[in-house]
Amino acid sequence: MDRRLTALTGALVVACAAYLFWGLGPRWQFILGLRAPKLAGMLLVGAAIAVATMVFQTLCRNRVLTPQIMGFDALYILMQTALVAGLGVGGYAGLSLSAKFGIEVVFMTLAALMLFGTLLGRGTQDIARLVLTGVIFGVMFRSFSGFLARIIDPNAFAVVQAASFASFTAIEPALLPVTGALCIGTIGVALWMAPRLDVLALGQPIAVSLGLAHDRLVIVALIMVAVLVSVATALVGPIAFFGLLVSGLAHELTGSARHARLLPMAILVGCLMLVIGQTLFERFLGLQSTLSVVIEFAGGVFFLWLLLKGRMR
């Protein structure tokens, strides 16, 4: 088990090195300066989505739901559209990156707490209602942004579109220090809380009987999910099925229900998939497509496989 973790860590180091140093050429300083921030961004996004998905699935006690399926990414797009519609293209472009990022994180966190805090806080066993709520909100957010997109002018719409598709090629280096600090801090807290997350997964009645401060932990976990999803979407844009792919693989690879093992495994899997995928795209496929398309495709197929295998609970 721990051998797998070590092997994956080794593989990740090799993959990062390959991404950084492969085919550097004579102007290596310039190229390294381009690649290093991109690599850092990918590692952050991989880890953030991995941890967010694992924690969210523990909250819902369901292995098929991800924050993205529950409408978090639709909310992100709606926010972009609303910002462009409200401020105009000039105002939107003029927003300082950290201000924009700050607004996004705060807003996403508040929205997540409002949407899911009440549902999860009461320890509802009613997964069907939870999913339905998420789907309905997702549709509502999408329709709202669709409506806004129709009334803004076409140039503004192009800006919205650029912001609503995931792109690993356009990671903004200026965002890295803030997002990095937030992301690493949150993941640290999640790892520290791993034993408590194990108890949370047992459901409200058992968790309370065992003396866990259930409702408080639910809120803390939701905030962590919201922060991590905001970080990931702010860096690369929305990716729906990636988290599902990562969490599914992490479960298969660890075969344990302990978060202290699951979380590091998920982080490694997430980072590894992004780095290898992006290396292949840049070096072999000449950027003919985007990584997210392939990840979405693989994730969608995996989702179907989970459904058919009856792992959906």
Partner: protein, 251 residues
């Protein structure tokens, strides 16, 4: 002693419990009985702080269930509710080991491992220890949950319908197990569906009807055709075997 004073509870506009006051004696096996919808599970959940208390006051051995930190309460009482949906795929031994959480908070000691083993032995689960819960029958899974509550080692054990889904051999065995716990100085509150399990094994019976306490006392006092007939609204014959009342509710 568990002290319930003036507790009412409503879900939506339906009032489930009407101003209930009752004392549950320490060091005894107390059975909560009553028809469907009498409010037994609600009362048990409120005592076990699984639901927020709307009015009144509940204390367990003097510790107020609202004010006392949940972690301290977990060492005082263990509660097992009727249905449990797990979010993680666990083996029987892993589930039972969670019962020790209030004592070690994630870092089990040799003592904890021993307690888990004892609980597995008590419910005859050693052979199933490495099986996944989803690969068990309903009754076996129920035993695993009871073992977890047992491993918690609390003074009070509150069980909601632990005999549901159990065959008669295990039902009797679990009731006998609860009586052994009492001999070890612990107290048990158990919601039972089959009145005869209460009549034979319990020291004290609290009977509920329509959100109120209808009768309480030792089995001989509660299990009479008059009292039970009123509560369940049917004619009942009660006989006696080996000094214990036996309710012939099938006839």
């Amino acid at each position: 002693m568990i002290c319930v004073e003036g507790v009412s509870h409503s879900i939506g506009k339906t009032e489930i419990l009407h101003d209930i006051s009752v004392e549950i004696p320490k060091g005894k096996v107390t059975a909560l009985v009553g028809p469907n919808g009498a409010g037994k599970s609600t009362l048990l959940s409120l005592i076990g702080r699984l639901m927020p208390l709307q009015s009144g006051r509940i204390s367990v051995d003097g510790a107020d269930t609202v004010q006392t930190p949940s972690r301290d309460l977990a060492r005082l009482m263990a509660i097992l509710s009727q249905t449990n949906t797990l979010g993680s795929r666990l083996r029987v031994r892993e589930l039972v080991a969670f019962g020790r959480w209030p004592h070690h908070q994630g870092r089990p000691t040799a003592e904890d491992v021993q307690q888990v083993n004892d609980a597995l032995v008590a419910l005859d689960l050693i052979a199933l220890g490495d099986r996944f819960l989803e690969a068990l029958s309903g009754g076996q899974r129920q035993r695993a949950f009871i073992a977890m509550a047992l491993a918690q080692g609390a003074d009070w054990l509150l069980l909601d319908e632990p005999l549901a889904a159990l065959d008669m051999a295990f039902a009797r065995r679990i009731m006998a197990q609860l009586v052994t716990l009492r001999a070890a100085g612990r107290s048990v509150v158990v919601v039972v569906h089959d009145i005869n399990h209460a009549a034979v094994w319990a020291d004290h019976i609290v009977a509920m009807k329509a959100g109120r306490i209808a009768a309480e006392g030792p089995p001989q006092a509660v299990c009479t055709s008059k009292v039970l007939g009123d509560i369940y609204g049917m004619d009942l014959r009660v006989t006696e075997i080996d000094g214990k009342p036996l309710v012939l509710h099938h006839l």
